[in-house]
Amino acid sequence: MDSIDRRRFLTGAAALGGGVLLGGPAALAKSVPARSLVVDEPRPPLAKEPGTLAILEWPGYEAHGTKAQTYGMLAGKDYTDKFGAKGLKYTYIVNDTQAINKARSGVQFDLIHPCIENLPDYVNSKLIQPWDTSLLPSFKNLNKTLVKKGQIGGKQYMIPWDWGYASVLYRTDKVSPADAKGWELFWNAKYKGKIAIWDGAQSNFEVAGLYLGFPNMDTQTPSQIRQSKDALIKQKPLNKFYWKSEYSDMQPAFKAGDIWITYSWQDAYVNMKNAGLKVAFMEPRQGKLGWMCGFVLGANTKSYYHAHKYVESFINHAAAVQMVNLFYYGNADATIKPSEVKDKALAKKLNIGNPLALQAKDIHLQSWMPQESQVALAWQEVQAA
């Protein structure tokens, strides 16, 4: 009889414990279906959707009207005007490799802004679903070459938006012109402590590949990966730091004069020039890196129609033009006229408006790396070295 009593006590305690442990957080947790079953389920209409969008995005690209957007970008305004900014939850991309692995680890995003080199990985890992381009009125304006690159198996998995270059940004008053001929500037011991390359696994191996003169930077053989790794280990002590965020560590350090030489995209060049620094965006003898990025749609999103509205608010003509004038990146919008770009000389220098710019001879478009996981491992080794 004692045992009955004891059992009753235990059951009570267990029920109470279970109630606290499981019942409580049930209110916090959202029951998310574990596996994606995208196609055959009837989709709720726009009004029935939760309307929250978890977005994996580069810092600086937050929609207009959100608190985080302090750079003056117009894109996203149509969306936040209509639906408010409250439902937009941004998580930030440090580098491409980290972004895809965050998604792979199970974090659920409605929208991601990756670049083209990882598109096959997102599709292969079943992290994303195709867009319904009929829901995007401005889709017809987009550059056909870039649109094509965003397709896999005939389906439009990526809506291209931004493209541009990566090169060496350096202070012309501190770096002698003779040293600034190519990517080898990162390896120049004369500038030890004044260099900061990006914490970008894949990009750094591409840069090392160009520096070492490999014929194809994105399909390096195991022995080439090893050589690139050794080169990056040799380069490591010359860095002040590996920058993780353009706006929160690279640009402030460059502006403050802590670093003179950095891996950068053209927006930092524009910003530093506007800040009155004597800078140049190098035309390396080995060629610049080219990149294109765009929006992909999470496989399990519950805000399917909201996501389309969001992307439309980015790809519409007005937003695209303003983005070009702000960052001097290229935009997938093929209807941008030269007269709409403010700094004509800069636009010409960067070949903005040319739909085939990324196909130019001296541009190495960053593309899919079959050896992605070896490169990621090798980058870990460089960081640990």
Binding site: D5, L16, G17, A34, K67, V107, S245, P252
Partner: protein, 270 residues
């Protein structure tokens, strides 16, 4: 005459003590002082007194909802860990018990497992079960790391209870549950309170597990602090709310400790 230190030695020790206390509190004071600094960059000279960062912090819904989320998880963690700590302390203070060493080791194990390892382990577990990141998973992890602290706070208190009181209660006809509720429980309330406070603190401050298991767009307060501390535009808001949290926890820890001591003194006297 002091047996352990000469007069000079005593003064040297006191001086050192004061210096170390200053060292311990300087960063906290800096945090509070610069939460009122007008500039976005925390640098000298002080650029003027302002409370705008507090207003900004409180109107930043991302920040306030992160604090709320952490407070909820902390509260649930306090309940869960204290309950588990209490019942396992009751179990481990039983006179006879098989596997006592093993069970004790198991319950205390989270004290020595690096949180980053526990975090990646739980990530693998979720992944193997086909589940996604969720706040309940964060809570499960927090309860796991808080349970040993609860046990270590509650158990000594149980051990010092006079067995005779319980025996007396039973002699008077109280059943075990009744005796527990009417005799044991009131005597260990201060310990339960301390346990809940510690468990809340552990959870509210926990970063490693949260960084792997928090779903997109549902950051806890430490995650917000971490990303905010790396974003120049957000740093002043993080410092403002951080100063508040630090001062509040100093006050709460001191008050709770003083209350606990007073309560325990009263209990031991009676």
């Amino acid at each position: 005459m002091n047996i352990a230190a000469s007069k000079t030695g005593e003064w040297a020790l006191k001086g050192y003590f004061a210096a170390l206390v200053v060292f311990l509190y300087v960063p906290l004071v800096v945090l509070v002082v610069f939460s009122f600094d007008n500039s976005t960059i925390q640098t000298l000279p002080y650029s003027g007194f302002t409370t705008k960062w507090f207003h900004a912090a409180f109107s930043n819904t991302d920040l306030t909802s992160a604090v709320q989320r952490s407070a909820w998880i902390g509260a649930l963690c306090a309940c869960g860990a204290t309950l588990l700590g209490l019942i396992s302390a009751l179990g481990l203070t039983a006179k006879r018990m098989r596997l006592r060493g093993l069970v004790t080791a198991l319950v205390l194990l989270p004290l020595v497992v690096p949180y980053v390892v526990l975090a990646v382990g739980m990530l693998i577990l979720l992944n193997s079960l086909g589940l996604h990141q969720a706040l309940w998973a964060v809570l499960l992890g927090h309860v796991a790391i808080a349970v040993p602290y609860s046990l270590l706070i509650i158990m000594p208190r149980l051990q010092t209870l006079d067995e005779n009181i319980l025996d007396a209660a039973r002699d008077l006809g109280a059943g075990p549950v009744h005796a527990f509720r009417r005799v044991t429980l009131p005597l260990i309330v201060p310990a339960l309170f301390s346990s809940a406070l510690i468990a809340f603190t552990i959870s509210f401050d926990e970063f490693a597990i949260a960084s792997f298991l928090v779903p997109a767009g549902q950051e806890t307060f430490p995650l917000f602090v971490y990303s905010g501390a790396r974003t120049p535009g957000l740093e002043p808001e993080v410092i403002a709310i951080g100063a508040l949290v630090v001062v509040a926890s100093l006050v709460v820890v001191t008050a709770a400790e003083l209350l606990r001591v007073r309560a325990e003194r009263r209990l031991t006297r009676s």
